[in-house]
Structure formats: C-alpha cells, structure tokens
Amino acid sequence: MKSLLATLALTTALTFPGLAMARPVTLTTTLTNYGGDGAYLALYVKDASGAYMGSLWMAGGKSKYYEHLTDWYRATSGDTAQINGITGASVGAGRSLEITLDLADTLFDAGYTLHVDAAVENMRDSPNEVAVPLTTDGAGTPVKGRRYIANFAYKM
C-alpha cells in the first residue's frame, strides 16, 4: 500500500510540472474598417530588454510582403522558418482573427511583451501597431491599435 502511494505521488509530481508548463491562450485581433485589402499581421514576443524572442502567429502567407511588417522583418531578417506551422490567411478589414495557442507559462509575468505589426497593400505600413505586456492581470483587457487594429486582447 505504501509503495503504491509512493508511486502515485511520484508520478503526480513528475506529471504536474509538465501540465503546468503551458496553457491555452486565445489571442483576438479585431481590425478597423480601413477600406483596403486583407491585412498582414505579425504577432511576436520581445523580452524586457526589447530583444526578439520568437513569433506567435503570422497572418498572411506570401513571404514577399513580409518586409512591410517592418519591425518583425528587422528582428528576423524575414526568416520564414520562424513562422513555419504558425501561419494563416491575412485578415480582412473589419474582421476578427481569433487564435488559440498552447503557450508556455514562463511567458507571463516575466517582463515579456507581445507586439503586433500590420501592413496592408498600397497603404501605410504600421509596425508595432500593438505592444501589450504579457501578464495574468492583463488577460482579457482589450488594447487599442494605432491604425488598422481596432483592439487586441488575450485570454487565458
């Protein structure tokens, strides 16, 4: 009986950190009716010092337009390996993009900031359209964008 309890405690102790290391997070981006083609959006994370950590999502599949997501492009040199498996379609004006990702817990309350760059064909590029600190308290609070994004929010 004792050995069974010990085994159970051990497996729980080993399993729990694995479960607690990541959680599903929903990122919702709603665009304004800016009256243009579909917007390309780059969602990426920087650390407290402003260094690029990695990308979370790319809305828009043609690499030839990525140079217009200027901050993201500068940070990554347009390396599409950064966004393999996390790329979807561009987002039309007035529409809402909802992405649910399994994100590491270490991203939250650790000084990381989520950035969104936006670009629309034949319209002005909008780097750093949104910059929102990743905190558990900030979850669910909408943040306004500068040009094409009406608001952005993340929920855990």
Binding site: K64, I83, N84, G85, I86, G88, R95, T100
Partner: protein, 118 residues
C-alpha cells in the same frame, strides 16, 4: 515572172530563217499553263515578280505581332520574376497545421494552434 518568183522564194526563205529560231525560243520560255496552276504554285513559280507581295506583308505583320506578344510575355514574366526572386526572397512559410510550431520556447507541447476568422 521568173524574177518575181525568185524574190518570193528568197523572202520566204529569209522569213523562215528568222522566224523559226524566234518561234522555237518563244515555245521554250512560255510554257502555257493555266493561271490557277501558276497561282497555286506560289510566288516562286510566278512568271512575273510582284512589286508587293501580300504574303510578305502577312509575315511581317505576324512577326511584329508575335514579337509584340513575346515582348509582352517577357515583360510579364520579368515582373513576376522580379516579385518572386528579388533579393533571393525566402520561401513561403508552411501553413499552420502542416508542421509543428517552431521550437522557440514560446510554445508548449500541447494542442496545435487553432484559428478562427469572424
């Protein structure tokens, strides 16, 4: 009478001497062919050289047209090439769901990304 007869024979002989070679030469050069046969045989077979040839004009038009079309095609191709290859552009990324997200430390090992557009 004898004189008249001699003159007549001499003139006939002269005429025959001059006319026979000329007549045979005409027979050699001008083969009598129907006009449709000449036209069907094409420009090379025509007994006269036309100052203007419709076929040549057509050729030129076709060449000009095809050159113009080729130029257009080339231009279009160039444009596309420019778009796609300028600065050794990176390939398009793999869409979500086709490969795992990058191992950048931001993602857990759980569910794959879900996306919804409203």
């Amino acid at each position: 009478m004898k004189t008249t007869l001699a003159v007549l024979i001499a003139s006939t002989a002269l005429t025959a001497a001059i006319a026979l070679p000329a007549w045979s030469a005409i027979q050699d050069r001008a083969e009598t062919r129907p006009i449709t046969a000449i036209l069907e045989a094409g420009p090379d077979a025509q007994p006269v050289i036309l100052a203007s040839n419709d076929d040549d004009d057509d050729d030129n038009d076709n060449r000009r047209r095809s050159e113009r079309n080729n130029d257009d095609d080339d231009d279009d191709d160039d444009d596309e090439d420019d778009d796609d290859n300028r600065g050794a552009r990176a390939p398009n990324p793999a869409p979500a769901g086709t490969v795992a997200p990058p191992a950048n430390g931001l993602f857990g090992n759980g569910a794959p990304p879900k996306v919804q557009m409203n």
